[in-house]
Symmetry: C2
Subunit: 193 residues, 2 copies
């Protein structure tokens, strides 16, 4: 698993010298996971933040009566974790699984904390990552409050075309906050129009 993608991801926001790059890479644990494998299970301690090198991951919350709510999908070049439990080292609220065979780099909380101390530029890097995540979640809230299910579905398809190809409609429905049956009728209506 080569490191070009993750280094390019970092280089979008900060520049590192050779020593800093080596130190950063020494903290990463590459991992290959197969489809349907579980990276984090609700109730477990969430020890890592994950960078997706290849493949697709999905984080979901399991509510009452086995109802799943998909919180996020992550494809190549994305970071994903249960941020609340990762930062506070509390039992996870979310479950994270592989939608397809995937390759990742894992970074442990204690190693990230060392990284912040040794290479403070990473404070800037993750400040920007968190900022973008905040903006994205806020935009999703705006859409959830102000748009119909059909409009949210259309937006999802245009915003995340790659994700839409990899995941099932059941999973898309659970991201949009509707049932798979209702998504199916929305799609049927769209076809007719």
């Amino acid at each position: 698993m080569n490191t070009e993608l993750i280094l390019a991801n970092i280089a979008k926001h900060i520049s590192l010298d050779k020593n800093e790059i080596d130190f950063f890479l020494s903290l990463l644990k590459p991992e290959e996971v197969s489809k349907k494998s579980v990276l984090l299970k609700e109730g477990q301690l969430c020890r890592d933040i994950n960078f997706v090198h290849h493949g697709t991951l999905r984080a979901f919350y399991m509510g009452k009566e086995a109802k799943e709510s998909t919180i996020m999908f992550a494809v190549a070049d994305w970071w994903i974790t249960d941020m609340y439990c990762f930062i506070n080292q509390k039992p996870a609220m979310l479950t994270i699984t592989a939608v397809e065979d995937s390759q990742l780099f894992r970074l442990r909380k204690e190693d990230l904390d060392r990284l912040y101390l040794q290479v403070p530029k990473f404070e800037r890097f993750f400040r920007i990552i968190m900022q973008n995540a905040y903006i994205r979640e806020q935009l999703r809230i705006i859409e959830n409050l102000s748009l119909s299910a059909e409009e949210r579905y259309t937006n999802f398809l245009s915003r995340y075309p790659k994700v839409a190809q990899q995941v099932t409609q059941k999973q898309i429905a659970s991201y949009l906050g509707i049932t798979p049956e209702f998504l199916s009728t929305l799609r049927a209506n769209k076809r007719i129009k």
Copy 2:
């Protein structure tokens, strides 16, 4: 308007020496705004991030047919802006108004950028602020996807009791994503139980 509250807010996450404190304070513009005044209007350039020293602010999105969606409330000790437009210096999607007479400190985008360069510890500070904001928004998404309107209302009251006292039910309804009429019937049902 004294600076104890905002300095204590900063000190929760980083410690500054006297020079750094003075430089930081020199960038802030204290401002008193009266109830109903508009701090940021949709379409305007969003130049500042605001720290609430006293009072209550509200950020909302105006959808079709004059339907407002409240994105956030901010009481004393909170930071608020339209983050997307503040960071990218684009026209605002959100409108921010004062729910009651309020006192704030404003920090301009260009001054924040200078602050990051001169006192890199602020990268850490805002990394943590953004991280908390991200976690909060994600929790709100989980609740919006998995809970009923009544459960969300109960959670809102217990999580933000001070806000609930300051704002109207119309505004709470628009935060929860329901109509004021429906919130009213929920409250009537609760009283009977």
